[in-house]
Symmetry: C2
Subunit: 386 residues, 2 copies
């Protein structure tokens, strides 16, 4: 049970934790040398600015990874709390600092809520920030059960879903699914920097999605990559080997060396197939039924999308998902409505009847990556007359 | 003016062109050695199966790139049409084949409609497939004005937006904005193939978007990459140099060599900054006004999204864009509604009043990549107490 808590560091994450806990009736003490940040967090309803008179149930250290060992040692010396956790996006270095520097490593559990977004500071904080999100907790053989249970109670109060891991496994995992993808997106986006105007005009949804995360702040991401440099370098080093092989195979295909052709093609197709397999490892929306996509062309007039969604709503068909492709420089966009397979054709007919321009309905599979899904820009290899 | 046309190759693209032209009153002759494909295209309303008695205004060769030179030579010998174009996704090799092999290169214009999707075959065809899409036309110094104008009329009849380029510029552009991003997405996705279960659980929207196109069919994409191998290898070769430098800098940062630290960080941050710059080159939705994002938490119950969109519609606020983040294994999802900046706060209040869980509204910029947008998983560097 958590009745009292302290949050050290009143930034976006710290203040959001404070708001989530306060909303559930926990008395939260906000601590930060930046008194403005504390004032803001208090004014939002995050808790009180006074330090606790006796140890709180749990303290959340919302400070940078490199500061966690020092701040924990200081606060344990002051007996701030019975248990401690943090919210840093890397977990092994802080764990080492705690093990070898804190008075009581047993009362600390590492934490990493997988939430945030592009905002920062207490003003951007939000009590719902962690709702339904994964929140990793990292333990080692020193961690007490009591500390783990208090951290689990904290995660539950914030509405998040806990996952318990070892710190090194966490760091390798985020290197693989977050940090390395960020670098790879940036490397691809960097190729576009000096692209001729006409090349950008041909950019479609694929490259836009693929490079979306490359819009992140370089300084901030530099810090993140630095704090997990070895694990990120391992992933990227393996990727670089595959890349070099692929470039070699493509160069060889370009010079039309017939003898090597089959081998080069096998190498390229094998790499693409491994991409399929890896892509299929990413979980999709849980329990999605087989659905169908109803593609609808909309004009760029204000209100078109709302008008379409209202029409769908009126039809009584439930929208599972929706994606909008507003290609640049185009007068129209394509809205793809994902609905239950059995409802798709009747929805399409109804929309056509209401004068919407509807493309052919297609079936989709429940998993994110259907094995034979190709993004095709190529006519099927027809039997050529002649 | 186009009154009569021929389509050679009744696959997805060829049949879609036939449907689009037929709908506009053009008499289309469908030609394919696969009689079933022709029958299907005719039954869909694509035109007639009989060959024309006299030359049609334009013939569209919807055959693979490697076949275009040969098919054009054959059809020109038979006087099929006054003008010819094709729909292949690479343009330089076909142009060379036409220049050096066709009886009359002046009547040919290369073409590449930027449409398709994951379907294939005439049954997937659709008269609206090209609506609002870019359609590249490639010309050289031999191309007659008459041939270009007939191709432009064809593009207009299909509802697409023409862009005239040189064939080599087209191939370099698609290597940069389509083929290389596909390979890079596949290379990253391939790293996930043997990822531990717990790592996949930490995957968020970033890596899912980044690897989405890696779900494409390996055989089909192998063919595409082979046909444009040199241009793709050029882009990837440059990317490989950046990648190798980045891995070197990260390895150096991992061993905490203080003397080199600043230099390594500069190298990493510089790469990320070039990613920002490249990302900003991709055009966003044209003429988007400054907007604001209203993030709403929805449950995974059937009908939640439709219910939310209906509530927004009832409020009279126009939705500019919408994105849905259904994270895996989570009971809830986050819907981000993009609306006009001035309407956001009142919409948020109204939704809260209707018992929706709304996160803090944030402003967005009109361009796709705002320079200081960071995807933050990190508490702001707070002034640490003590």
């Amino acid at each position: 049970m958590i009745r009292t808590a302290a949050v050290v560091g009143a930034g976006l994450i710290g203040t959001s934790v404070a708001l989530a806990l306060s909303r559930r009736g926990v008395l939260v003490h906000l601590i930060d040398t930046d008194k403005d940040a504390v004032r803001t967090a208090v004014s939002l309803g995050g808790g009180v600015a006074e330090p606790p008179r006796e140890p709180v149930d749990i303290a959340v250290l919302a400070v940078p990874p490199s500061a966690i060992g020092r701040v924990l040692a200081e606060q344990q010396a002051k007996r701030l709390a019975h248990s401690y956790t943090d919210v840093a996006s890397v977990k092994h270095e802080p764990e080492l600092a705690v093990r070898f520097g804190a008075p009581d490593p047993t009362s600390y559990v590492g934490g990493h809520p997988m939430a945030g977004g592009e905002r920062s500071g207490p003003l951007a904080a939000c009590a719902n920030l962690f709702e339904g999100r994964t929140w990793v907790l990292t333990t080692c053989e020193l961690t007490s059960r009591e500390a783990l249970n208090r951290a689990l109670a904290l995660v539950a109060l914030c509405g998040a879903v806990p996952v318990v891991m070892e710190s090194t496994a966490h760091d390798r995992a985020v290197a693989l699914v977050s940090h390395a993808p960020h670098v790879v997106a940036a490397l691809m986006a960097a190729r576009l920097e000096h692209a001729p105007e006409e090349a950008s005009r041909l950019a479609g949804q694929g490259v836009r999605d693929m490079t979306r995360i490359a819009g992140g702040d370089p300084g901030l991401w530099g810090d993140i990559l630095e704090s997990n440099a070895a694990a990120v370098a391992d992933v990227l080093g393996e990727l670089a080997e595959d890349l070099v092989s692929t470039v070699r195979a493509l160069r060889s295909l370009a010079v039309v060396d017939v003898a090597r052709r089959a081998e080069d093609m096998t190498s390229v197709i094998d790499m693409l197939g491994r991409g399929n397999a890896g892509r299929a490892r990413l979980p999709g929306k849980p329990g999605s039924p087989a659905g169908a996509v109803v593609p609808v062309v909309i004009g760029d007039k204000s209100g078109e999308l709302a008008r379409l969604l209202a029409a769908v709503h009126d039809s009584g068909v439930n929208i599972e998902d929706v994606s909008i492709d507003h290609s640049p420089g185009k007068p129209t966009g394509l809205v793809e409505l994902v609905v239950a397979a059995e409802a798709a054709e009747s929805l399409a007919e109804r929309l056509v009847g209401a004068n919407w321009t509807v493309q052919r309905v297609r079936q989709v599979f429940p998993t994110a990556a259907a094995p034979r899904t190709a993004h095709r820009e190529w006519p099927r290899p027809v039997a050529v007359p002649g």
